[in-house]
């Protein structure tokens, strides 16, 4: 009997620990049919050019990065290197690279490929999205500005030894696991049609791409993990429409599907479908940002009052159908700096009224609430909150905009309040910098948060090489955010992946559940796919 262990969320601590049972040996062969649910097309298969989570679903099979995120331990682990050593000041890292990694064209990867890939990413004229990560390396910025041809912080010791000097005391793993920093072969990239014939280091090689429909990948036999990958083929189907995906999944046309709240309920209630549900607390925090330029929101008591006035637990339970975890503060559950001792704001309209009265808004006020149509962190939530705020005298007027425009609105500060979802991991320091007073609004301090005590904690955290101390400093900073309530802390996303009983080895990746390391996936004989 094959038995799958789907994610058991034990308390709040053990997260992202789903692995396939090792009781049966994985079957070789077969086809895995995954879905790309976020848009009706892929951006590009030249993964340096595209920052989209949608594209990275394919990228995880096709490419490899220096680091990877290990979902079973929630840690960043070396992928293309076998070991790394750091200098005492924490700025120079020396990598021993894998000697068995081959590109799909058969050539062995060396330190030159990493240097070339990172240098390409820093091409100032091209503005590749991965530049934000590579900029960590000393001298990278000079390449971007065009004053240098090579990144001075990258040094090839020998073919399989690379020395990297960085500018900040941090774990480079946070920077070099992102798909936009994939290691690509120069000779292939320079061919004119690379995006249509991508070549990488991953366990699967490119077979075909029908734009707007699907990408097909085939097993790469010289992949460096012995015995892997298992499947012969991977098909990634584009399916943006949730209702259509639901039908296709029930019709057994696809092996995995992302679930929204409504389907989450339906699938949990179904005796068969409920056996194939993988849940993970993703590193996304959903919140309503309050712009202090709108006068009532400049007052901490008003912001707290809003947190008290909304019955957040009820919304999560009834509307989000428990497809989320209640947010306490900014950092997500998986962050080491998450403080379990802190309890989320309670639902207390009386206290909210009192706070409002203290702040001089005994009769309430009216504000405009910008929202997208997103079912988990958009209009439906706003619609449920409106009557709750009305009870304490606050009138919220929803302003619907497209999801696409949301980012623009937030960056420009063109809102009184806006509900959105923010990536809050895995680098807690980087995420908290979004409330650092010197961070400009356009970078990510969208509520122009300014708190000297908070700044001080972040400065200290950035300078320490002691990991435990850093975790503690960030915990304190996170708790200041809780107290200051620059946002309404709504929830941390629970990503839910439905899967068919014949697919095994799925990982509960908290950075993005659709990003599966496909070399670990396999399908048994029951799969209807040929």
């Amino acid at each position: 009997m094959r038995k799958l262990v789907w994610l058991a969320v034990a308390g709040l601590a053990v997260l992202g620990a789903a692995t396939a049972s090792a009781q049966t040996t994985p079957r070789k062969g077969g086809t895995i049919r995954m879905t790309a649910p976020y848009a009706a097309s892929f951006g590009s298969l030249d993964f340096h050019t595209t920052p989209r989570a949608q594209d990275e679903i394919v990228g995880k099979s096709l490419n490899r990065t220096l680091y990877n995120f290990d979902s079973s331990t929630n840690k960043l682990v070396l992928e293309l290197a076998t070991s790394v050593t750091a200098s005492p000041d924490g700025l120079v890292h020396t990598f021993k690279l894998r000697q068995d990694a081959y590109f799909h064209n058969g050539r062995k990867m060396t330190a030159d490929d990493i240097i070339w890939s990172y240098t390409r990413i820093m091409d100032g004229a091209k503005a590749y999205p991965g530049a934000r990560y590579v900029r960590l390396i000393k001298g990278a910025i000079d390449v971007e500005k065009g004053t240098a041809k090579e990144i001075s912080g990258l040094k090839k010791i020998d073919d399989f030894t690379l020395e990297m000097t960085i500018t900040d005391i941090t774990d480079p793993g946070f920077y070099f696991f992102d798909g936009t920093t994939a290691i690509l072969p120069k000779e292939e990239v320079e061919k004119p049609n690379f995006a249509n014939n991508p070549v990488g280091l991953g366990p699967f090689k490119f077979k075909e791409h029908i734009p707007g429909s699907r990408v097909v990948l085939e097993r790469f036999d010289k992949f460096y993990k012995p015995g892997k990958p298992y499947a012969d083929r991977i098909v990634v189907q584009l399916m943006a429409e949730a209702a259509a995906r639901d039908v296709a999944f029930r019709n057994k046309e696809i092996d995995t599907s992302i679930l929204g709240p409504a389907q989450y309920v339906a699938y949990r209630a179904d005796p068969e479908l409920s056996k194939g549900i993988l849940e993970v607390a993703e590193m996304f925090t959903r919140s309503m940002r309050m712009n202090p330029e709108f006068k009532p929101f400049a007052d901490k008591r008003v912001r707290q009052a809003i947190n008290y006035a909304i019955d957040t637990d009820l919304i999560i339970k009834r509307l989000v159908k428990d497809k989320a975890y209640r947010a306490t503060s900014w950092l997500p559950l998986s962050s080491p700096s998450f403080d379990k001792a802190v309890k989320p704001y309670a639902y207390d309209p009386e206290k909210a009224k009192k706070l409002l009265a203290d702040a001089g808004y005994a009769n309430g006020f009216e504000f405009e609430w910008t929202t997208s149509q997103n079912e988990s962190w958009g209009l439906p939530i706003v619609e449920a909150v409106i009557p709750m705020l009305a009870k304490v005298g606050i009138k919220a007027k929803p302003k619907l905009i497209e999801t696409t425009v949301l980012t623009d609105v937030i960056i420009k500060g063109d809102f009184q309040a806006v509900i959105s979802s923010s990536l809050t991991g895995p680098d807690s320091l980087a995420q908290l910098r979004c409330f650092y007073s010197k961070t400009p609004r356009s970078a990510c301090n969208y509520v122009t948060f300014n708190n000297p005590a908070f700044d001080k904690l972040l400065d200290d955290a950035g300078q320490t090489t002691d990991a435990a101390k850093r975790v503690d400093l960030l915990r304190q900073a996170n708790n200041i955010l809780y107290e200051e309530a620059p946002v309404w802390f709504f929830n941390y996303n629970k990503a839910v992946l439905a899967y068919q009983p014949w697919i095994h080895g799925l990982q509960a990746n908290p950075t993005e559940i659709t990003h599966q390391y496909t070399e670990d996936l396999w399908v048994d004989e029951k799969s209807p796919a040929k």
């Binding site: 091209k126 734009p211 707007g212 429909s213 189907q237 584009l238 943006a240 259509a244 019709n251």
Partner: protein, 310 residues
């Protein structure tokens, strides 16, 4: 004949030019930058990168300069570079044309096959059961919300009956195209049923049909020798207009069924603010309309001798 063709094609040019100008202007005032399209939930792009990209794409140039550039490029068949993929828009659109055409042709085959047949037989027996049935069906077909109908088809034929795959392009085979084609074709089908019925009734009441009857022709011969072709002239206009606009109407169906056509590329590109791609898609949609209607005009010349000499 050649002159007729040349004149029809010449008529198309100003419309096409106007469309190019219109879509360029429309989309130059679209809110939200292309950067917003590139950032997803919670993942934003470095402002410095944004600045650079703006420059690279020439978005900081004044509008007239950009327009001039765009027009010269379009004139040479270059539809610009996609913001999203940084590939030429033509390579983006290229692979979408065939699936789009397939879907549109399949939908139209369905619409003509069912609609014209129903309308035709309804007109031959006005007031009969088949007439009432067809016309109630037709007016209901016109009142259906496309995505709702598509969803219903999907549930019924894919999920409940399991006769057909629910979505996607598959290997381009017949089974995958049936549901989207029916969902897309039901509107034109209803319209064609009504138009055909009206056209055939019109022709059946025409004097020359009375003449034909007075010649002692069987009703069947009257219909095949005299009614069909005359009704066709009336139906062809509607077929042309419907056919031509179908590629644009396919937006919803393509989205719902994950069909890799021009329509879904366009919607996606609108939401990602990939202006060059959107402009390219609209241009294709308009071009398709114009080509189909030019062909219909020419078909007229073949069917209706009155036009040939005027």
């Amino acid at each position: 004949m050649l002159i007729v063709i040349a004149r029809r094609i010449a008529n198309v040019v100003p419309t096409l030019a106007a469309v190019i100008a219109l879509i360029f202007l429309l989309f130059s005032v679209l809110p939200g930058s292309f950067i917003s399209g590139m950032s997803e939930e919670g993942r934003t792009i470095d402002p410095a990168v944004m600045e650079r990209m703006r420059k690279e794409m020439g978005l900081d140039d004044p509008l007239p300069t950009r327009f001039a550039k765009y027009v010269t490029h379009v004139a040479t068949g270059d539809l610009g570079t996609s913001f999203r993929t940084r590939e030429p828009v033509t390579t983006l659109i290229g692979p979408r044309i065939w699936p789009s055409l397939k879907l549109v042709f399949a939908a139209m085959t369905f619409a003509i096959g069912v609609g014209v047949t129903l309308g035709f037989f309804a007109a031959l027996k006005p007031g009969s059961l088949i007439d009432t049935f067809s016309m109630v069906g037709a007016i209901s077909g016109l009142s259906l919300s496309q995505f709702w109908f598509g969803l219903m088809l999907m549930y019924l034929f894919a999920l409940k009956l399991q006769w057909l795959p629910s979505f996607g392009y598959g290997d381009g085979g017949l089974t995958h195209i049936i549901l989207p084609a029916v969902a897309l074709g039901v509107g034109p089908m209803a319209l064609l049923a009504r138009t055909t019925r009206a056209a055939v009734l019109d022709v059946l009441n025409a004097d020359f049909v009375r003449t034909a009857r007075s010649k002692g022709m069987s009703e069947r011969r009257v219909v095949t020798w005299h009614v069909l072709r005359n009704a066709l002239v009336l139906v062809v206009t509607i077929v042309g207009l419907q056919f031509g606009s179908l590629m644009g109407q396919a937006v919803v169906v393509e989205k719902l069924f994950a069909w890799p056509g021009i329509g879904s590329l366009m919607v996606d590109s609108v939401f990602q603010r990939d202006m060059p791609a959107v402009q390219g898609c609209i241009l294709m949609i308009v071009l398709f309309f114009l080509v189909i209607n030019t062909l219909v005009d020419l078909a007229y010349v073949a069917i209706d001798p009155r036009i040939r000499y005027s």
